[in-house]
Assembly symmetry: D2
Homo-oligomer: 350 residues x 4
């Protein structure tokens, strides 16, 4: 059996998640090196996972001829440069979302990947969620006929630290970008128009940073379908991630996952579990599945399931949402992507 | 349109329920007279329902030639005599359950009814519950193939007053008798063997009366199907009335009805309504439907949906359960009903 | 007991619903006269309900000094004139929604009602739905803290006839107007901005009439809360009417009502009932409750629960939605209602 | 970190499950040797898991001084002898259920374990199911007060091969024995009386072997609680494993796990997933957790969570059920276990 050797760049929370996935659940790959600007904290858990090489210098990974692909989990501002550097070395790339906060850099990274003929997979993990994937599959099978409305509810249990909010690019590029990708995935169509409405209801400090914490985003898709996303940075009952696709022949909907199905019927009501707390709990299996999918694409020479076009389109929608909020009007995605979109769309993902 | 004039005997809680049902929801009938040994309290609500005649003497009802049928809601010990008296006057009879606590009196009442060629309907209201009726209908349609197991959970929100427990004939003749009838209804077959296990877990005072407040009853039906009923006199979350019929091609099950479907997701869990509090709330519509069914049977000359055989069989099973509990062994219903059962069964309900 | 005598104007489908409600479930009122431009079909069912007077001329009702209030169920274009005529005769008014398709006529009707010091109740029946009412009550009690997002899904099982679509004023004044009122009811706040996105996905003939059959409407409320409504004219699984109010301390949501809770577990999946088919089934009890509420307000001299301001505001939002769709931009309700809104708001409902 | 070296005896379906659990999910243990009477088929998957030694002779495992514990997954008739042999070599033992079909051999094995002061854990995996464990924990915390009724539904998707039925000891020792252990676990009390009712409804060939395929078993616990188990060898909708514990202060119940929560609302109803197909799917995580618990008990010197007394009691209840079915009467467990039970009970598990 071929085993793909991976280098992990960025050993924070999500980096560790991927390292654990690979160690225990991705039989065809092995992480051999880890790079992080502050390598010390990672050494302990890396050792437990059997990974000996932990360095501060990502170039050690890029220069290692045995490493076939990199997993980029560093801060967003480093993504595009790392992708280009990795592509230049002929290494395949798995990169956390978003690839960058500017369209120019995303396109530059995508161009580098395409020129180098390496694979790129973007970390839109929700496509691998068992519920969402099932809905997508059933939509494709035609179970509900033509889709008319995609509805996504996406609420975090608690807002991120303010320091993070400052550099995140705003709720639409940080949080809703997942929902934008999911909407494209579920509808099977590209977004042509976005209208975003936002409010600061959770924490005025978020508003002071020029961001919103509550939002309703309306989407129009190329195939005529409409979409609506409602976001909140704080649901006291936990991570709320539900979707519905409604179409000519019915609807497909899913509920949140819970730790157990246990229900207590007592004098004060009938009470069940809250949803799983946050993304690490809810998408644990999805993280494993996306990494296996990436490794398979690399080893088997097939397209990655979330590729270049997905990196571009999700950002375009996010930028359109940001513009819509600022200008209080619906924004066509073509305003953001310009003439290049058509070319990109024809190109498809690799 | 023919309107059937009814006399109501016994104006307690359930008598008032039937009076209201008839007044508002049974267009083909009208209650013209009410009799109760303590008539005063009933006069107020009777007047509001447009019923002028409220008397202490049930004979006024039996002697009224305009009255075509009586609705017997007095105490259990008076049922059989009233049925026989009504039958002698040619009046059709709706009688609350149980008809009597002794098989001899039930049979005497049934004989009187059959001789007089009047109708008898017994107040097994649960047969008219929307959920149970749907399950029965789907079982009959063959949706689950041959039934293998009938499972009934039946729990009251609170035990009755001790004074009532003393004269009730025990849990099996008072409470479980509904479940026995429901088991026959759902399985479409007669019970041939009963094993009852009981315990006093809710209130020792119930035990002091020689009764149990918690019970598991296992049934064997003539068609080979098994049944199991679990009872409690006290569910703090309200009236718990659920059934499942499991068969060769699947299962049919229902949940409790609730006041609303509203669910609160909060920091302490996800909480919905408790079941409807007790039988008056849960079976409100079933009480209306059973009364309409009785009136239709009388006016249209069709069999009542719960007739003589049902009165006998439910008591036979109840007596078998009582004997099983006392003798700590399974009891064949034939031990209780003797040779007469076969005759009864052949006769069918009218 | 006082009994309020009612005259029913308009004996179509919804008129018959109200007549039945009053006959069987509104003890403090009685319909004594019915007027319909085509009176013949109504005579049969009116007689069954004990109503003898059925006429083609609504003036007979308005001139009857014994009649204290009218129930207006005629076509929308007649509502405002009938309200004014009834008010002039000192009669209280229950009027089906919408009061009119133009703001000027609604205001004229409201002015007439206010000058005559009679009551007006508008037929926003959903406020009386058990689930929605419970959510509203719990929101008011503060169970979820400050409301952040009101989410309404409202889908019909089938579009109305095209002839009706032509005169309906479009989806926002015909169908969504219920949701606009519900959104105000649930949020406890007035709508200040509307953005409507629509599509023709169900039937091109609806588009040919200049209407849409699928819509997403985003609302902003005065209290900062956001709202979103998704509509479809055709859900093949039946009437889909769900709401969620999400707030600082959790969410409150309800599901559709179903005929039964029976679930079949079979070889092909686990299947339960579809929602109740349409508004007559789903809101049967709500129709009764709204009529009792109107009768109580009249007899007890209390404000009606859905009054003048509700008639105006729902139309203002509907007109704003229509303008938003046409002009592809968010529309402030103040653009529609102008300076009068502030005055109206101060006035409150009577 | 200490790593416990394990030898696996019996490399059939469940043996492979444990091998995979240990390889991927039990960080503190490693399987170094496998023995199976037909070793060839296991060599391939063993190699993939990094296990090099696969032999036909279990003595190689027992004689290996590096191996600290054995995992016995061979056929039931070999369990007791292997336990005794392992104990004689000072090795701790994890053994699949049942330990043996005769009480004498189970006791002999238990005695050997106790004399050798090694650990024994029996493979009652359901105790580690997330739902059942939560219910047990909440019962212990007193959430429902005193337990009154334990209700277990346990149905397989399909009966085992007839060849297996012949040697299985019958439904109560093969299938229901899991439920007996679960009933003890959930109630926190020992079973004192058993009444079993059975029927042959799934397959007459099972009846021809003297077994039943459908059963209702009533239990009485020492603490007064009652229990009821309903079993079927064939549920066409998949593995049905639900429990409810009802008590003085409410009830705790769980539903089956499903692959997804996706629901399709269509013209024919509202349909969701069937339960996970069978034990390998439903209890995947429970198998991992039980193995981790065993390894922790061995390495940390703590009692195993399912020990000697559990091996004995589950068999005693199973034998009592078998006797009850044969003799058509309730059977006290003391009839089966005799005077030794008291001694055993005092001893507790180690």
């Amino acid at each position: 059996m071929d085993v793909l050797k991976l280098g992990l760049i960025g050993a924070g929370r999500i980096g560790k998640v991927h390292a654990q996935s690979v160690a225990y659940h991705v039989p065809r790959a092995r992480i051999t090196r880890i790079a992080d600007i502050a390598p010390e904290p990672a050494r302990v858990w890396a050792a437990e996972l059997g990974i000996r090489s932990v360095t501060a210098d990502a170039r050690e990974i890029l220069d290692d001829p045995e490493i076939g692909a990199v997993v980029i989990c560093s801060s967003t501002d480093t993504h595009a440069d790392l992708i280009m550097a990795a592509a230049a070395k002929g290494k395949h790339v798995f990169c956390e979302k978003p690839v960058d906060l500017t369209l120019a850099k995303v396109k530059a990274a995508v161009d580098a990947v395409e020129r180098a003929k390496v694979k790129l997979q973007v970390g839109f993990n929700r496509r691998f969620d068992h519920n969402f994937k099932r809905i997508r599959d059933l939509v494709r099978e035609g179970v509900i006929g033509t889709p008319h409305v995609v509805r996504i509810t996406s609420r975090d249990p608690a807002p991120p630290p303010l320091a993070y909010v400052k550099v995140s690019g705003g709720i639409f590029l940080d949080m809703t970008i997942h929902d934008f990708d999911l909407a494209r995935y579920l509808s099977g169509s590209e977004v042509v128009e976005v209208y975003a409405k936002g409010a600061v209801l959770v924490d005025p400090a978020i508003g002071a940073e020029g961001d919103v914490d509550t939002a309703i985003v309306t989407l129009e898709f190329q195939n005529g379908c409409l979409g609506v996303i409602d976001n909140s940075r704080k649901a006291v009952y936990g991570y709320d991630q539900r979707v519905e696709v409604f179409g000519a022949a019915g609807s497909l909907a899913c509920e949140n996952d819970t730790p157990t199905s246990v229900v207590h019927s007592g004098a004060n009501g009938v009470t069940g579990d809250k949803p799983l707390y946050f993304f690490l709990e809810r998408y644990q299996k999805a993280y494993i599945d996306e990494m296996n999918a990436f490794v398979e694409a690399v080893l088997d020479g097939t397209p990655t399931p979330v590729g270049c076009e997905d990196a571009i389109q999700s950002l375009v929608i996010g930028l359109a949402a940001r513009k819509s909020l600022a200008e209080k009007r619906p924004v066509r995605t073509a305003e953001i992507s310009g003439a290049e979109t058509a070319r990109n769309r024809a190109r498809g993902s690799r």
